[in-house]
């Protein structure tokens, strides 16, 4: 196995992983851009997507790649529920009390809320599904495709295709449709958006739905490739933030590019510093960007 093959192989893997990071990061960026808070529980929805896909695969006897979008929708709906019951009241409290707010740390409240949610969901998964890694059964499990001297599984390819498709759909949605434009308007100026008749809270619900559904979909399509375990979301969340920061917080397109970039950086970098330290690459890049170019490599919203 020559060096070039090794690099080429990591390149391919990098792009594929990148697609996943892009999906998760795009959603997180959307939440930050539109709803102005950081969702520390984002990784948990990725995890839930994976587990619900698993459950539905067993229950319905269908292939996970067919079931994953369904799971994504479920998670999206859950997100709307959470938004209505937990997040919206915080918004209302935030707009009311600008006075005692500092004492009650308004921005911190959102972060803490999502942190609490994250812990809750991780433990919920631990309780329901136990910390034993689970393999999602799939008919495509051991099929491989070979290009040149590299072979990788059909599953990875399929995951990649789904990732790219969903990212493209997201892009088109935001750029072309009316709702997409409304979302972008809200992210730029919520007050003005309200004035032109956009129902902010509906937009928030839609944003949460799309964002969490993307993360869940990412989990669903990765499930068959890697084993599921309840902490998988935690492994991903720092990277998700790294992607968002690299691409510019609130910049959805930026985070898509950043996602691919991180995937490549990790896999290629891993060749040099070994796989155990590979995970730190995302963090280091993130710190560098925060330090040197806080607006991200590609600028703001």
């Amino acid at each position: 196995m020559s060096v070039t093959t090794g690099i080429f192989e990591q390149l391919i893997y990098g792009i594929m992983t990148g697609g996943i990071y892009a999906m998760i990061g795009a959603g997180l960026s959307m939440i930050f851009g539109v709803m102005r808070f950081s969702n520390f529980a984002h990784g948990e929805f990725y995890m839930l997507g994976a587990y619900i896909t698993y459950v539905l695969t067993i229950a319905l006897g269908l292939d996970p790649y067919i079931v994953a979008p369904l799971a994504a929708i479920c998670v999206g709906l859950l997100g709307i529920l959470i938004n209505i019951s937990l997040i919206r009241p915080l918004y209302e409290a935030a707009s009311k009390a600008r006075g005692t707010s500092a004492f009650y740390f308004q921005d911190l409240r959102f972060i803490l809320l999502t942190v609490g949610l994250s812990i809750f969901l991780v433990d919920l998964a631990l309780v329901i599904w136990k910390p034993i890694p689970i393999r999602v059964p799939s008919s495509l499990a051991y099929m491989n495709i070979t290009i040149g001297s590299i072979s990788f599984s059909v599953q990875r390819l399929l995951a990649f295709i789904i990732a790219c498709t969903s990212l493209t759909l997201l892009y088109l949605f935001l750029k072309k449709t009316r709702t997409g434009k409304a979302i972008r308007a809200t992210s730029q100026n919520p007050a003005a958006a309200m004035l032109v008749g956009i129902d902010i809270h509906k937009i928030y619900n839609i944003t949460i739905f799309i964002s969490l559904a993307m993360a869940a979909l990412a989990g669903g399509i990765l499930g068959p490739i890697f084993n599921l375990h309840p902490r998988m979301g935690l492994d991903v969340v720092v990277k998700a933030f790294a992607v968002v920061i690299l691409g510019g917080m609130g910049n959805v397109v930026g985070s898509i590019y950043a996602g691919f970039f991180l995937g490549l950086a990790e896999n290629l970098g891993g060749l040099f510093i070994g796989t155990e330290y590979r995970e730190a690459i995302g963090f280091i890049l993130m710190i560098l960007v925060l330090w040197l170019r806080p607006k991200g490599l590609l600028g703001g919203r």
Binding site: R98, G99, T100, S101, A102, F103
Partner: protein, 248 residues
């Protein structure tokens, strides 16, 4: 003695040019007013002058020394102090503490002044602005007008050489406005160089000896209140403020 000099300052935000080649100087002991329609760049100018923004081009000189791009906290220590258009009191702290913190910063946090002396000085400033009776109230409990006075007291505790007031009468009732006008005059009389950004013609005409007019990021003109009020370009820029400019 030139207290402050702004030299060829430019400031861009993306595609928008907020300040275009702005130059002027302020003599020690002056009471200067900066006016202009909304969006003219007044607050941006303040932000550049006080280190909250870095200008893209140009320099700011404070008593002859170049302070361009220096951070706000350094400038405050040098004696260049500003207030904010949307008041920023330390809401969760008492009125006294708000000013006390300023006193600490001026005289030394870890040494330099005893607690008793610090409180004395803080109370002095509160008395100056007429808020001594509120010293134990939480800042957030104060009505808007008193918050504005607190803002000024906090700034005064730093013994500034130059005080920049950003829209000091924004949102006030006419009575409150008169109180602030008196206060500004009092501050100026005590030897502080004062620069005021304001919208409100009545305040500016009554208080300032010299006025600079900003429009679309450029200096339109400058002069005494009478000159400005009768300047057709100024009137055009304001369109509608005519009737206020005519009255005194």
């Amino acid at each position: 003695m030139e207290a402050l000099k702004v030299v060829n300052v430019w400031k861009r935000f993306g595609g928008l040019v907020a300040l275009k080649n702005v130059s002027f100087s302020v003599k020690e002991g002056e009471l200067l007013g900066i006016i202009g329609p909304n969006g003219a760049g007044k607050t941006t100018l303040f932000n550049v002058m006080t280190g909250f923004y870095k200008p893209d081009k140009g320099r700011i000189l404070f008593y002859g020394k170049d302070i361009t791009g220096k951070p706000p906290f350094e400038l405050a220590k040098k004696g260049l102090v500003r207030t904010f258009q949307l008041v920023k009191p330390f809401l969760g702290m008492t009125v006294l503490d708000n000013v006390l913190v300023s006193v600490y910063m001026r005289y030394g946090v870890f040494r330099g002044i005893s607690e008793e002396e610090a409180r004395e000085k803080a109370r002095e400033k509160l008395k100056f602005v007429g808020l001594l009776h509120r010293e134990n109230y939480l800042a957030e409990a104060l009505p808007h007008g008193e918050k504005k006075r607190l803002e000024i007291a906090r700034a005064l505790a730093l013994n500034p050489k130059v005080l920049l007031l950003d829209e000091p009468v924004g949102g006030l009732t006419p009575t409150e406005m008169d109180e602030i006008i008196e206060l500004i005059k009092k501050v100026h009389d005590s030897g502080v160089t004062v620069i005021v950004i304001e919208h409100n013609m009545r305040v500016v005409m009554n208080v300032c000896k010299r006025i600079i007019v900003l429009n679309y990021g450029e200096i339109l003109t400058e002069g005494t209140p009478e000159e400005i009020a009768s300047n057709p370009d100024v009137i055009k820029a304001y369109l509608g403020e005519r009737y206020i400019a005519r009255s005194k």
